[in-house]
Symmetry: C2
Subunit: 194 residues, 2 copies
């Protein structure tokens, strides 16, 4: 859905996304009806369909926007750091910080990943993130500072650590980001063995 929007319109659209995000995170996507969203906002149902052609589209937009935002944050954090290992560390810290500030999105993304309707969008997002990580890993491997294993698998392993620590300590609990980041980084770099 593409419409000419005034400032008022853009604000309304954002309200709808924010409100929907909150409800999706609380109750889940399917159990949250469009009526729930507009009621919560105190507006008529037509408002929703003025800005989005379907509930599905709203979620897809939300996923695209949040991913764009997360990626921007990661790139800002990494800047032009030349050390590939440092870059990985900065990326991990940026992800944890972002998810901490956007807890709602974590569960929404987790759900979307399990739904074939949204999986394609999520897959693309993830492929991009993995490709970023792979680049740093390859640099590290060339420099002889990172184990010479399949960089793609290593990238997924790192993302797995970040996702699970985020879920447990930043979404379910409310731990200090730096404490979690420290464990995540040292686990990824040095593993368990002493």
């Amino acid at each position: 859905m593409r419409r000419k929007l005034t400032q008022r319109g853009r604000d309304r659209r954002e309200q709808l996304i924010d409100c929907a995000a909150r409800l999706f995170a609380e109750r889940g996507y399917h159990p949250t009806s469009v009526s729930d969203v507009v009621e919560e906002l105190g507006v008529g149902k037509g408002v929703f369909y003025w800005y989005f052609s379907s509930k599905e589209e709203l979620l897809a937009e939300l996923l695209k926007a949040s991913n764009h935002d997360l990626r921007k944050r990661q790139q800002q954090a990494i800047g032009d750091e030349p050390d590939p290992i440092k870059r990985i560390e900065l990326g991990i810290r940026a992800s944890l910080t972002w998810f901490r500030e956007h807890r709602d999105y974590f569960s929404i993304i987790a759900f979307a990943a399990t739904d074939e309707t949204f999986a394609p969008v999520l897959r693309r997002n993830r492929d991009i993130a993995i490709a970023d990580t792979i680049r740093h890993l390859k640099d590290g491997i060339v420099e002889g500072r990172i184990t010479d294993a399949d960089p793609e698998m290593l990238a997924h392993a790192i993302h797995g650590v970040v996702a699970e620590l985020t879920r447990q300590y930043l979404v379910e609990q409310d731990e200090d980001v730096d404490r979690i980041a420290a464990v995540a980084v040292s686990f990824c770099l040095d593993g368990l063995a002493r």
Copy 2:
């Protein structure tokens, strides 16, 4: 729902769970209706409600049963291995192997984790699994062979690696379990750094 079941009844019940599992994995839990399940099986709707009091109950049963099965597999694999690091390795391999044989369950569990209705069951399952891992980690720490960090966080990190590698290489792709297991184990034990 508790009923006296003959062999025929137990078979039917299992058919329903298997069929529902397949459909849940394919289309998702919410989009799969009870009618879909019984139609696929070619039986009347009443059959479903003879064995389960609700669609919700079926999923809860499925989650409980699958978790029980996975845990049994892990314990069998670990046996009475005395080396805690070996035990962790055997646990990782057992999990990967089990999920490989039960791909459908992976996405169902992933969905259930995002739905507050089922999260409690899942949380209990996960707590048990984490507690198992923590035990091995603590043994390793006492022996001075594992980094002296918060064992709970380390356990979550390991589970994160296993979950993400499972998803990417055993569910989305169809890689060789041993190859994935090797990477998972070496990543968890030694990390990235050379």
